[in-house]
């Protein structure tokens, strides 16, 4: 079965510090994308960063970067210089594959608090 596991239901970080959110997944595919989404209190789901599995280089978007370990099926999100606006739920996701079955498999999320 295709699964995504986020082992940290809640985390906290001091403003300006760095925090890493973990995500592991299970797939038999070799070519796929991985995504991190952010859901602030407004409820709007926002794509934070994506990683292409066939690329060895870790993706980076400003203060957000990933540590992608393909063999270990691990896809962690690092937030540097944390800001109060980073407080949100963060979800890891990857696409299931096969025919018309183009849908995302989601982790249960990590709630991140940022302390001033």
């Amino acid at each position: 079965a295709q699964t995504v596991t986020q082992s940290q239901p809640e985390m906290s970080v001091q403003e300006a510090e760095t925090v890493t959110l973990s995500c592991t997944y299970d797939t038999s595919e070799s070519d796929y994308y991985l995504f991190w989404y952010k859901q602030p209190p407004s409820r709007q789901m926002i794509l934070v960063i994506r990683q292409e599995a066939y690329k060895q280089q870790n993706a980076t978007e400003n203060r957000f970067s990933v540590n992608f370990q393909k063999a270990a099926k691990s896809f962690s999100l690092k937030i540097s210089d944390s800001q109060l606006g980073d407080a949100a739920m963060y979800f890891c996701a990857y696409p299931s594959q096969g025919g018309n079955n183009r849908k995302l498999i989601w982790g249960l999320g990590t709630s991140l608090a940022v302390n001033p």
Binding site: R43, Q44, L104, L108
Partner: protein, 115 residues
């Protein structure tokens, strides 16, 4: 921002009544999805569509039906609402056109309360 609109944004309904939620997109994306979000359960897929009149069940489809008669509209119907269907419902769209880049764009969500 992706053009995706959900209506209504909030709704309170009584147990046993039918309810229809609407998702409208202006992106011409092929895939459309309905999720529900509940504390401790993350996002759970209810139904999805991969084209006009082409739909399939997700992991929590019981008690829900969908229809997609046009590319831009995807309707979710609760045939007879129950209190267990109180939730926040999200519509999402995806082009999924190139390989596995299945980035999803989300609507603002609908908070449904069944009393």
């Amino acid at each position: 921002d992706a053009g995706i609109t959900q209506s209504p944004r909030h709704k309170v309904t009584e147990t046993g009544t039918p309810v229809t939620l609407r998702c409208h997109q202006t992106e011409n994306h092929r895939y459309m999805y309905w999720y529900r979000q509940d504390p401790g359960h993350g996002l759970r897929l209810i139904h999805y569509s991969y084209g006009v009149k082409d739909t399939d069940k997700g992991e929590v489809s019981d008690g829900y039906s969908v229809s997609r008669s046009k590319t831009e509209d995807f309707l979710l119907t609760l045939e007879s609402a129950t209190s267990s269907q109180t939730s926040v419902y999200f519509c999402a769209i995806s082009d999924a056109g190139t390989g596995m880049n299945t980035e999803a764009f989300f609507g603002q969500g609908t908070r449904l309360t069944v009393v």
